[in-house]
C-alpha cells in the first residue's frame, strides 16, 4: 500500500534501505555472534543524517517527526534490528530533553545527538522497578546547587556506549509517584559508572548495561522540567517512543516475511516448490495480512502524533506497540516453521529475527502492561 508518503518520506526510506542492504546485511551475522557494539554502522547512520531524523531542525536534525522515525527504523530493522537499536534507544533517551527540556539543555545536547557524535540512553528500570515506576529506589538529594544521586539502573540499552543519559530518581520519596524527577547525566561524571553487560537472547549487537550512581553530583541545571515531574515526563516519553518499538517489530516481521517468501519459492519438496502448497500459502497470507494491519495502525498513530491534534496518545501508542510486537513474534515463529531445519539453523537469518522479535513484546512495557494501559484509558474515557 502507498500510505500517501511524501517525497521526503520516500527519500528517507531509500536512504535507510541503502544502508541496510549495503552496510548492515553483510555484517549482521558478525555483530550477532560477536555481540559487538556496531559503531561502524552508527557512523553510517550519522553520515546519512539518520541520527537526527526526529530531532527538530532548529537543533541540527531533520524534523521528520514520529512518522520519519518509524519509516527509518522499519527499514533498518528489516535487515538487522540489533544494529539499528542504538539509534532507536538514542531517540528514547533524547525524548525527555525534546519534550520537556529547557532551551539551554536542548542547545547543549541535541546538536551532538542529531549529528551522530553522541548517543543517548534512557534510565528508568531498576531491579525492583520497571513497569511500576514508583518502585524506583534511586534517590537524588538536593545539596545547594547540586543533586547527589545514588542508586542503580538495570537493563539500560546503550549503557556504557552513550554519552548522554536521561535518568529518573526520587527527589521526594514521601510523595510516591509525584516525588520522581528526571535528570540529564553524562558519561564520565564523577560517581557515575557502569555495571555488568547483559548477555542476551536477541538484539545482541546492542549494549545493555547497568548504570551505577554512587554520590554522583549533578548540577540543578541538569534537572529536566521541575522536581516531581518525572512520572509525567516518563509517560510522555513512552507515548512517543512506543511507536519506535512498534516500528522495530514491524521491520523485523516484514524482513522475515520477505525472506520466507523468497525461500518458499526456491525450496523444492515432492517435486514442486513449497510455495505451491496451500498449507504454506495460507501461512504466508496470514503473515502478510497481519503485517499490513500492523503497519496501517502504526502509520495512523505516527501521523496523529505528528499532527499534534490529539493531546494524549497513550492508548493508541500502547495499541500499536502491542499489536506490532505480537505480530512480529507470530510472524517470525511461523517464518522459522516454514524454513524448517534451515530456519532453526544459525546459518539462516530467520532464527535471529525470531530472537530479536521477542524483546519487542517486553521492553518499553510488556504486552501485558500495554493491555493495562489500553484498558485503563478505555474505561477512563467512557462515560
Amino acid at each position: 500500500m502507498d500510505y500517501m508518503l511524501s517525497d521526503e518520506e520516500k527519500t528517507l526510506i531509500a536512504t535507510a534501505k541503502n544502508i541496510a542492504i549495503e552496510k548492515m546485511k553483510l555484517e549482521r551475522k558478525y555483530y550477532d555472534e560477536n555481540e559487538e557494539f556496531p559503531w561502524k554502522i552508527i557512523k553510517e547512520f550519522a553520515k546519512s543524517n539518520l541520527c537526527g531524523v526526529y530531532v527538530p531542525k532548529k537543533y541540527g536534525g531533520l524534523s521528520k517527526g514520529i512518522m520519519g522515525l518509524v519509516l527509518v527504523l522499519e527499514e533498518l530493522c528489516k535487515v538487522d534490528s540489533g544494529a539499528a537499536l542504538p539509534l532507536a534507544a538514542t531517540i528514547l533517551g533524547t525524548l525527555p530533553i525534546i519534550l520537556a527540556g529547557t532551551e539551554k539543555q536542548k542547545t547543549k545536547y541535541l546538536f551532538d545527538i542529531a549529528s551522530g557524535n553522541n548517543l543517548a540512553a534512557f534510565g528508568l528500570t531498576e531491579v525492583n522497578a520497571g513497569s511500576d515506576i514508583t518502585g524506583i529506589a534511586t534517590t537524588a538529594v538536593k545539596s545547594g546547587d547540586y543533586y547527589i544521586i545514588n542508586g542503580r539502573k538495570r537493563f539500560i540499552t546503550n549503557g556504557g556506549e552513550a554519552q548522554v543519559y536521561t535518568i529518573f530518581a526520587k527527589t521526594n520519596p514521601k510523595k510516591g509517584a509525584r516525588g520522581i524527577s528526571c535528570f540529564i547525566l553524562e558519561k564520565g561524571m564523577i560517581g557515575f559508572s557502569f555495571g555488568k553487560k547483559e548477555v542476551k537472547m536477541g538484539i545482541r549487537a546492542s549494549s545493555t548495561r547497568e548504570l551505577i550512581f554512587s554520590n554522583c553530583k549533578v548540577h540543578k541545571d541538569n534537572l529536566i522540567g521541575k522536581e516531581g515531574q518525572g512520572l509525567i515526563i516518563a509517560q510522555a516519553t513512552l507515548d512517543n517512543s512506543r511507536p519506535g518499538v512498534a516500528a522495530q517489530a514491524l521491520g523485523i516481521a516484514t524482513g522475515a516475511l520477505e525472506e520466507t517468501v523468497k525461500y518458499a519459492k526456491k525450496r523444492i519438496q515432492f517435486g514442486q516448490t513449497i510455495a505451491s502448497f496451500s498449507a504454506i500459502q495460507h501461512m504466508l497470507a496470514d503473515m502478510a495480512t497481519e503485517i499490513e494491519a500492523a503497519r496501517a495502525l502504526l502509520y495512523s498513530l505516527a501521523r496523529t502524533i505528528d499532527s499534534g491534534k490529539q493531546k494524549r496518545v497513550s492508548k493508541e501508542s500502547a495499541m500499536a506497540k502491542l499489536f506490532c510486537s505480537e505480530v512480529a513474534m507470530k510472524v517470525t515463529v511461523n517464518a522459522v516453521q516454514i524454513f524448517g531445519g534451515y530456519g532453526y539453523s544459525r546459518e539462516c537469518p530467520i532464527e535471529k529475527m525470531m530472537r530479536d522479535a521477542k524483546i519487542t513484546t517486553i521492553y518499553e512495557g510488556t504486552s501485558q502492561i500495554q493491555r493495562n494501559e489500553i484498558a485503563l484509558n478505555l474505561i477512563k474515557q467512557s462515560f
Binding site: 521526503e8 527519500t11 544502508i19
Partner: protein, 272 residues
C-alpha cells in the same frame, strides 16, 4: 580542476542472463523490459571524481548518453556529490556502437565543458563490455589517455601533470601524463560512499539538462546505426550446464587416485 565523467545506464538482467533481455531477432539488448541500473563500473568513476574535487577543488560534470530513463543515474551521481549533469538524448543516437557513442560523447564534452582537465570513464560497461569508449573519446578529443587506473598518486595543478598507477596483468605501471587527460578507472579503486538524506533530496530537486544531436553539433552521418561500423551478426543467450560429481576419498582411494580420475575426466571432456 574541471572533471568530466562519462557514465552509463545498463540493463540489470544481463547479470542474470535472463532470456527476455536479449532480442535475438533484432540483435540488440531489449532495454524496455530490462531493469535499468548504473553500470557497476561507474560507481567508482563517480566516487573518484568527487574525491578529486574534494581534495583539489573545482567542479564535476556527469554526462550520459541514453534514453530519458537514464536521467535516474545522473541523479544518483548528483546525490554522491557531482555538481551538474547532462543527458545526451536523441532518437538519432539509436543503434550507436562504441565508435558512434565515443563520437557523441566527445561532441558533448566539447560543447559542455571545453575547459576540462580530467575526463574519467569506467573501464567497460556491463552490457557492451567493449572497453573501447573511454580510449576512443580521448582519441577524438586528441588528448592522452591512461586505462585501468587503480590509483591516482598525485595531481600537480601548476605543472599540469598527473601521476597514476595502472593495473596490469603481471603487475603495475606508474605513469605520469600531462593534463588534460582521460582516465578509465578499475573497480575497487575506492569504496563508493553512501548517500545521505540531504544529498538524496538535493539530487531529487536538481535540474538535469537534456541535449540532443543538434545541440552538441554532432554530424548526423557519424551517429546511430549509420555511424556504426559494427554489425552484430548474432546475439544469443548462452546457458552453462554443470555436471557436478562429488567424490569423497575413502581409505582405499588415495588422493593421487582421485586426481587421476579428475584428469581422465577432463581429458574425456577435451578440456585438457
Amino acid at each position: 580542476m574541471n572533471i568530466v565523467i562519462c557514465i552509463k545506464q545498463v540493463s540489470k538482467l544481463i547479470i542474470e542472463s535472463t532470456i527476455n533481455t536479449i532480442d535475438s531477432r533484432m540483435c540488440r539488448v531489449n532495454r524496455e523490459t530490462a531493469k535499468l541500473i548504473l553500470n557497476p563500473f561507474d560507481k567508482y568513476v563517480i566516487e573518484e571524481s568527487v574525491r578529486i574535487k574534494e581534495k583539489m577543488g573545482g567542479k564535476v560534470t556527469a554526462i550520459t548518453m541514453g534514453p530519458y530513463k537514464s536521467e535516474s543515474i545522473l541523479r544518483k551521481a548528483i546525490s554522491k556529490g557531482v555538481d551538474e549533469a547532462f543527458l545526451i538524448s536523441d532518437i538519432a543516437f539509436k543503434g550507436s556502437d562504441a565508435l558512434a557513442t565515443s563520437y557523441v560523447l566527445s561532441c558533448a564534452i566539447k560543447h559542455i565543458r571545453r575547459d576540462y582537465d580530467i575526463i574519467i570513464c569506467g573501464t567497460q560497461s556491463l552490457d557492451g563490455d567493449t572497453g573501447q569508449v573511454g580510449p576512443s573519446i580521448a582519441e577524438m578529443l586528441d588528448i592522452p589517455h591512461i586505462s585501468y587506473v587503480s590509483k591516482i598518486e598525485s595531481i600537480d595543478i601548476d605543472k599540469k601533470t598527473i601521476k597514476v598507477i595502472r593495473k596490469m596483468e603481471d603487475g603495475y605501471d606508474i605513469i605520469r601524463s600531462s593534463i588534460p587527460v582521460l582516465l578509465t578507472v578499475v573497480k575497487g579503486i575506492n569504496t563508493p560512499r553512501m548517500t545521505s538524506f540531504k544529498s538524496n533530496m538535493i539530487s531529487k530537486k536538481a535540474k538535469v539538462k537534456i541535449l540532443n544531436a543538434f545541440d552538441i553539433n554532432a554530424d548526423i552521418k557519424k551517429i546511430g546505426l549509420r555511424g556504426s561500423p559494427t554489425k552484430v551478426a548474432k546475439l544469443l543467450t548462452i546457458s552453462y550446464s554443470y555436471d557436478i560429481i562429488s567424490k569423497k576419498s575413502t581409505e582405499e582411494e588415495t588422493c593421487d587416485q582421485i586426481i587421476d580420475i579428475l584428469i581422465r575426466r577432463l581429458f574425456n571432456m577435451k578440456i585438457i
